[in-house]
Amino acid sequence: MEYIMPLWPAYPELFLLVMACVILLVDLFVSDDNRIVTYGLTQFTLAGCALLTFFTGNAEPVYTFSGMFVDDLMADALKLATCVAVITVLVYARAYNAARGLFTGEFFTLALFATLGMMVMISANHLLTLYLGLELLSLSLYAMVALQRDSVRATEAAMKYFVLGALASGMLLYGMSMLYGATGTLEITELARLANEGVRAQVVLVFALVFIVAGLGFKLGAVPFHMWVPDVYHGAPTAVTLFIGSAPKFAAFAIVMRLLAQALGAEALTEEWRNMLAVMAVLSLAIGNLTAIMQTNLKRMFAYSTISHMGFLLLGVLSGSIDGYGAGMYYVVVYVLMTLGAFGMILLLARDGFEAEDLDDYKGLNQRNPWYAFLMLLLMFSMAGIPPTVGFYAKLSVLQAVVEIGMWWLAVVAVLFSLIGAFYYLRIVKLMYFDEPADNAPISASGDVRALLSVNGIAVLLLGIAPQPLLVLCIEAVRASI
C-alpha cells in the first residue's frame, strides 16, 4: 500500500474519475428530453471537485503515488481555477449546444475526462504522468471538436488539430526521452536536482530542451507553432472553442512551469530556454496582433489575439524569477477570465441557425441591449490592456518582471504590439456603440447565463480596481511550489 499513500492529495482526481464513469453509465438511461440530468450531475461533479481541491489544499508540497503526483499550492490554485472555468463553460454552452444537437452525454463525459487530464497535468511530478495527462486532455479535445460530425468545417478543424497535436506530442516525447538519456530519471524533482548539480552530458540536456520547448510551443499555440490555432478556433463549434480557449491554458501553463521552471530551472539551462522563449514571444506578439487586424470573423480574430496573449505569457515565464512566474500565472488567470466572457458573449448572441461570429453581427449592440454592450466593452478594454480593467495590470506585472531582468527591448516591443492590438479590440467597441444594428432579433438568455456573464464582466472591472490580492496569491502560490 505504501506505493499509493497518502491517498488524500488525489481525492479531487479520484472523485472526478469515479463520477465521470458514473455519469457515463447514468446517461445511458436518460432520454434526450431529460438530458438536463446529465448536465446537473456534471456540474455537481465539478463543484464537488473544486470543493475537494479547496479542502485538501495545503501550503507544503505533498508527494504521493511513488513520487509521481504532487499536491502543492500552485497545483491547488490552478485546479480550483480549472474547475470554475469548466463550470462556467458548461453554463454558457448549454443553450448553444441544445440548439445544435450537441447537448449530449458524450459532450459532458468528454469535458469531464478533459478536465481530469488537465488536473493530472497540473499535479504531475513525473514526465510519464505529465505526458499521459496531456494525451488524455488532447484526445478528449480532438473528439469534442469533431463532435459536430456533419459540419465539414468542424471535421477539418478536428483533423488538423489531431495531426498537428500528434506531431507536437511526438516532439515533447522525444525531448523527454533525451532527458532520460542524459539523467537516467523521469521524476521532476530528481531531474531538477541532477540538472542543478550539472550532468556530464550538458549538450544532450540542451538538445532535449529544444524539442521540449518546440512541443510546448505547439501546445500553447505560440508562433512559429501556431498554425492550428486559427483553424481550430474557427472550425470548432463555438462552445468547444470556448472550452479549448479557456481551461486548458491553466494546464498548459502548469506544464511549462513543471518542465522549464522546475525540472530544467538550473541557472545554465534557464539562460538557454530564455532566448528560445524570447524569440517565440516576440514573433507571437507580432504575428498575432498584426494578423488579427485583418480578420472579419470574430472567432478567428480571438484566435490570433490568443496567440499574442500567449506571447505575453511567455514573457512572464522567460524572466525566470518568482515574480515573473507569478506574473505569468496571474496573466493566465486573467486571460481565461476575459476569454470566458468574450466567447460567452458570442454564445449568448448566437441562436438556432445563427452563429453571431462575424464582426458585423455586433453592429449597434448598444441599441439592442446596452448592458451586454457594456459588458463586452469591459472585456474588450481588458483584452486591449486599458486601465482600470484587470488586463492592464496583467500586462503591467509581466512587463515589470521583464524589465527587472534588464530586457528593456522586450518590454518596448511588447508595448508597441499591444498598442497595435488595441486597434482591433476598440473596433468592436466602435461597431457596438456607433453603428446601426444590422439585425434586430431579440436577445434571449436564461437567468443563469445572464447572471454569470454579468459577474464575469464585472469581475474584469473589480479585479482591475483591486488587482493586488489575486497577484499576491499567484506569486505566493508559485513561491511555495517552485
Binding site: 509521481m68 458524450e106 475526462f113 488524455l136
Partner: protein
C-alpha cells in the same frame, strides 16, 4: 564479430530498410506490410536487450492484432495516393532544407560521445529464476499504478470518442411497427363514423366562374 553482433546488425539493417519503405512505398498495403516487418525486427532487437516480454507483446499485440486490423481498414479505403502527393515537389526545397539541417544537428549531438557503448555498460546478469514478465507486472501495479490507471482512462476516452463520432442511430422509417400492436388493431382505430346531413355540392366549374 560474435554471433550476437551479427544478429544485431542484421536486425538493425532490416529495420532501417523496412522503416524507409514504410514512408516511400506507393501502395498503402505494402507500406502497412513493411510496418509489420519493422515491428518484427524491433521485437528481435528488444529480445536481444533481454526485454523478452516487451518483444513478445509487440509481436502479439501490434503485429497480431493492431496491424491486421489496420490492413483491413487500408484495403477497404480507396486512398487516392496521387492526390496525397500533390504539391510534393513544390514543398520539397524548403522541407528538404529544414529536414537536412535537423538531421545534421541531431547527428552532431547523437553521434557525440554521450551515446557511445561506454555510456551504457552491460547490466549485471540476472539471477537464476529471474522473470522479466514478473518484474514488469510488479512495477506496473506498484510504483507505476498511477500512470497505468491513466492509460486505462485514455483507452476509455478512445472508446467514448469512437462511439460518439461514428454511431449513427437508425431512424425508424415509420413503416415498421410492433407486430403485436398491428394485430390488436380495432375497427375504431382506423375508421371514424361521422353522421352529417346530406349536402348537394355545386359543380366545380360553376363555382370557379362565380369566384371570378
Amino acid at each position: 564479430m560474435t554471433f550476437q553482433e551479427i544478429i544485431f546488425w542484421f536486425f538493425s539493417a532490416v529495420l532501417v530498410f523496412a522503416a524507409l519503405r514504410v514512408i516511400t512505398a506507393r501502395n498503402p498495403v505494402h507500406a502497412a506490410l513493411f510496418l509489420v516487418l519493422a515491428f518484427c525486427t524491433s521485437a528481435g532487437l528488444w529480445i536481444q536487450l533481454e526485454a523478452e516480454f516487451l518483444g513478445i507483446a509487440l509481436i502479439l499485440v501490434y503485429v497480431g492484432a493492431v496491424m491486421v486490423l489496420f490492413l483491413f481498414v487500408v484495403m477497404m479505403l480507396d486512398i487516392n495516393i496521387e492526390r496525397l502527393r500533390q504539391g510534393f515537389w513544390s514543398y520539397l526545397p524548403v522541407g528538404g532544407l529544414v529536414a537536412a539541417l535537423l538531421v545534421v544537428e541531431m547527428a552532431l549531438v547523437l553521434g557525440g560521445p554521450w551515446f557511445g557503448l561506454g555510456e551504457a555498460p552491460r547490466p549485471a546478469p540476472a539471477p537464476e529464476g529471474y522473470s522479466n514478465t514478473k518484474e514488469l507486472g510488479r512495477l506496473i501495479y506498484t510504483d507505476y499504478v498511477y500512470p497505468f490507471e491513466l492509460a486505462a482512462v485514455i483507452l476509455l476516452v478512445a472508446i467514448v470518442a469512437a462511439i460518439a463520432l461514428t454511431l449513427r442511430r437508425r431512424k425508424s422509417s415509420g413503416r415498421q411497427m410492433d407486430v403485436a400492436q398491428q394485430v390488436q388493431v380495432k375497427r375504431a382505430d382506423r375508421v371514424r363514423m361521422v353522421s352529417m346531413p346530406a349536402v348537394k355540392e355545386d359543380k366545380v366549374e360553376a363555382k370557379e366562374e362565380g369566384g371570378k
